[in-house]
């Protein structure tokens, strides 16, 4: 087998691989690239051209890949949103129970928790709405609905707002708790930052999922 024959064989294999790797919406472009190989007089040049075609197809494939295409990713995202929903619904439930005096008729509940006393009623109500929207988002993520992005971003923004409002209150003691944790270990802040980063990544993945596929 001569070097020329080997180069031609390699070129054909690369073109075939490029056609295979190319995403459906770019098949025509892959075909266009492959047709040009037949017009290149030099075998060496044709081989380089084929290698470039393979590179371009890989590039297009990577661009078209969405993490939400894989069901384990969607389930992991739904699980994380479920955790957020449980967290915020728990907060809303506890606060509303206290503020409205629900389920405490049989027990002389002492109304003396400073943070709950200063918390206005709209805060747990808003938290309740956010929690319900988060629960709805779980279904939407699993169904791969385009509305899922909004159903995650809106309650997430509300959660951040509620956290900021609560953080600004001296009765919450959040600032002191954070500073004590930070004094104990500088890595203590990693967990809240990681949580925030995971939620932002989920939002980005859902935003990417909303984008229509590239034009043919």
């Amino acid at each position: 087998m001569t070097l020329r024959a080997i180069s031609q064989w390699l070129s054909r294999q690369l073109i075939s691989a490029a056609m295979h790797v190319s995403p459906c919406e770019r098949k025509e472009w892959a075909k266009a690239m492959s047709r040009e190989v037949e017009e290149i007089p030099s075998v060496r040049e044709a081989l380089w051209w084929s290698l470039g075609c393979f590179q371009a197809s890989c590039h297009e494939r990577l661009k078209s890949m969405k993490p939400t295409n894989w069901w384990p990713v969607r389930w992991a995202m739904a699980l994380w949103i479920a955790l957020l929903a449980v967290d915020i619904l728990f907060y809303a439930g506890i606060t509303l129970t206290y503020k409205l005096g629900l389920f405490t008729g049989h027990f002389p509940y002492p109304r003396n928790v400073p943070l709950l006393e200063v918390t206005p009623l709209w805060e747990p109500m808003l938290a309740l709405v956010s929690g319900v929207v988060f629960l709805l988002a779980i279904v939407l993520i699993l169904k791969r609905s385009r509305v899922a992005f909004g159903a995650v971003v809106a309650p997430f923004a509300i959660t951040l707002l509620l956290f900021a409002v609560r953080f600004s209150r001296p009765e919450s003691g959040d600032l002191q708790s954070l500073s004590i944790a930070y004094q104990k270990s500088h890595f203590a802040l990693i967990w809240p930052i990681l949580g925030l980063a995971i939620t932002i990544l989920i939002c980005l993945a859902l935003w990417q999922d909303r984008q229509p596929p590239a034009a043919r």
């Binding site: 770019r26 472009w29 266009a32 047709r35 040009e36 017009e39 051209w49 470039g52 075609c53 393979f54």
Partner: protein, 105 residues
């Protein structure tokens, strides 16, 4: 910042090559020769320009019988406007001195 100024040097080179013969349909290999771009760089730029409506593409039958058709490209009106922009900027920057107002004292 204008759209043309955001273009990479490779995209500008391709736009310039397409501008050389704005009415002619050109093959990918021709464009590669004209710009010095490898196929791995050239085709992602061509697809992007086509997606953004700057480039027209179609299949053209080969001149020699028995050969498969080839994909050919040319700039759209929008693409021509985009390609003219950096050349205008270049011409402006080369003009150097500001024009002198006739009759100014």
């Amino acid at each position: 910042m204008t759209l043309a100024r955001k273009c990479s040097p490779q995209t500008l080179a391709l736009l310039a090559a397409l501008m050389d013969q704005p009415r002619e349909w050109q093959h990918g290999y021709e464009l590669s020769k004209a710009t010095g771009l490898k196929s791995g760089t050239l085709y992602p730029i061509l697809t992007r320009l086509s997606d953004q409506g700057f480039l027209d593409s179609r299949w053209k039958d080969a001149e020699q019988p028995g050969r498969p058709p080839r994909h050919v490209y040319r700039l759209t009106a929008k693409g021509l406007a985009l390609a003219r922009e950096p050349m205008k900027v270049l011409a402006d920057s080369r003009s150097g001195l500001k024009p002198i107002k006739v009759g100014a004292q």
